[in-house]
Point group: C2
Chain length 365, copies 2
């Protein structure tokens, strides 16, 4: 196929460090697997605020639009924490999701066998956990209008947001969840608070309709968000695919990630719709961990989540299943061999830094 | 003091069974501690729908208003699951909260030493966990207007809710959290998504102002809700008091409860404001577990959470600290002695049912 265009957005904190290790993997693939990508880099997050005054410059959005896939690092840090709402580094990722129509965030929470002991949960509870959270990412309370902080006639401040979904926004992300379930263990748990929220009531109804009409072969379970949080903590193995809106998906995917005990290992993908004329589908890949400002620049961050995000990219955006598996297997082998970055360190293992981990993966490849 | 008025609302599912055991405790206290309460009972939830067509009849609200405290069981069950939104059993508790102005829900998540092994988390992670979640319960997205499901001109359905807080609604529940922290380990973690929600931005600002002006001696930490879910799962001991709005408080208090592994042991209190003229404060006490329809009527439910809710009632509404401690200690001793209901059963312990547990507690008293 023609040269694939890859946009790399390292961002802030540990983003640039861990992205550096992915660059090595890309170089290896270019030489040994004769894959060639056209790679561009652009600014996003705090570093973009510092350089050009915006967390997501128009140029970055334009490059992302032109690319076949975006590999994102992480954004934010204490330096920008006191900026007003509309100028925060987080807007970098929010705007990319919105402008590129990236509506489905796929967040696997997978407990790899060598890392069972890294979890705060008992080994028998987490061994074998393999959950995929599908989160809606361009709707709901994150973007709903009206929203703001206003002053009432009596002088009191009033802060408000609108939680809103139109039925097709629910249906399209539900389809992503059902499609994934078919390739996995065939079960979707759809999460809302239909008992107290009107948008949750519509959510449950539409997911049920899509299920009945298009995916009757998949098992569908509806669960309240509070109960889902409980169940994730006490019996995570019951879940296959969890489907949630922007807000519940945010909280529950982080919880699912945390229970694996290895945040530094978890990638994610955010996908748009397939364009009917070009056949192209915008997609952005990013690790689940944040910018981790406390360890940035120390060379101790775990680059695996960023590398695994790149593996997801190879699979989902470039159709390179074999290369994706190659990279994933290399990482698993390095871990099985006993190498560990600080975040997943266990007694008896060898503690290494960011670049030694990157080298080890390339060597394993 | 004059006779205290207590309203008992057993509700649905296991509610009546576990409430029965509290009745024994009340009888014991009447005889041995010469406490006398005027006790009334009323209908709420599904049973009220069946009897009089409303999940929260006006008569129940009137009785609750007249009472010094309300002891609530639990509501809901599959029988009423297909009823329309406005007629569900859950409206029973929602209306009571709203009509009585019960704005602060206090939910302790306490890991008792004899129950450390009941948790899905490792013993070293949960031993000693003692968290109090303070959740706002009459505002936010649960009640905000406008809300509804409408049909757009193009025929698509649109579901929407309003997440809204006025500053004094935030300040008063923040004060409850800070006051509690002073009697505990002096730390409040306030939770929102100030990075994406305008109401969250106001929440953070107002909590900060109350802290600075009235509670500078208490440690205040602001945390995003997604991060809080992660931290609860991986390092729960870092928390003392967690303060959240109606929705985040709902999800995070259930998560905090779940990580103790002993939902059947956890009580809660929901408090209103102190009336400036009468000095009276409305309050409702209920176990955290739901109506558990799957085990209702089998005589195996754990009555401890309902009994501990009554202990909270004695302490908070009737000022009977000594009697509250007496009851709490009796329950702890029964557990330390090896008796367990099915939900907290452990190898080597003696498995008992609802009424044997109730008897054992009364005997211990
Ligand atoms: C950075 C922030 C805006 C973002 C979100 O809330 O969506 C983050 O928590 C995430 O999950 O990607
Ligand atoms: C029953 C339901 C309306 C309620 C809520 O969401 O508040 C419950 O989950 C709770 O936490 O008390």
């Amino acid at each position: 196929p023609a040269n694939k265009k890859l946009l790399v957005l390292p961002g802030d904190g540990i983003g640039p460090e861990v992205m550096g290790e992915v660059r090595r993997v890309i170089d290896w693939m270019a030489h040994r697997r004769s894959l060639s990508f056209e790679i561009e880099e652009a600014l996003v997050g705090g570093i973009a605020i510092d350089a050009v005054g915006s967390p997501c410059p128009d140029e970055t959005v334009a490059k992302a639009r032109a690319a076949d896939a975006v590999l994102f690092g992480s954004v934010g840090g204490p330096k920008w924490d006191s900026l007003p709402f509309e100028q925060r580094p987080e807007l970098g990722i929010l705007r990319l999701r919105k402008d590129l129509g990236l509506f489905a965030n796929l967040r696997p929470a997978l407990v790899m066998d060598p890392l069972v002991e890294a979890s705060s949960l008992k080994a028998n509870i987490v061994r074998g956990v393999d959950i995929m959270v599908v989160r809606e990412t361009v709707g709901g309370v994150y973007f709903g209008e009206p929203r703001g902080v206003e002053t009432l006639p009596d002088g009191r401040r009033r802060g408000f947001d609108t939680q809103v979904y139109v039925e097709d926004e629910i249906a399209r992300v539900a389809r992503v969840a059902f499609d994934l379930a078919r390739k996995r263990r065939n079960k979707v748990t759809s999460v809302e608070k239909a008992n107290v929220m009107q948008s949750g009531r519509l959510w449950r109804a539409v997911v049920g309709e899509v299920h009945k009409a298009e995916y009757p072969d998949v098992e569908l379970e509806n669960m309240y968000a509070d109960n889902c949080a409980m169940q994730l903590c006490s019996r995570p193995k019951q879940f296959d695919v969890i489907l949630g809106d922007n807000l519940f998906g945010d909280v529950l995917s982080d919880l699912a990630a945390a229970l694996t005990g290895s945040l530094g290992m978890l990638p994610s993908a955010t996908l748009g719709a397939v364009d009917a004329t070009t056949g192209k589908r915008h997609a952005l890949y990013e690790p689940i961990h944040g910018s981790a400002p406390d360890i940035a620049g120390k060379g101790i961050a775990n680059p695996c989540a960023q590398m695994l995000s790149f593996a997801m990219l190879l699979r989902w955006s470039f159709g390179l299943e074999e290369d994706a598996r190659l990279l994933e297997t290399a990482i698993e082998k390095v871990l099985a061999g006993g190498l560990r970055t600080a975040d997943i360190m266990q007694p008896g293992m060898a503690r290494i830094g960011t670049s030694v981990m990157g080298e080890a993966v390339v060597r394993e490849l």
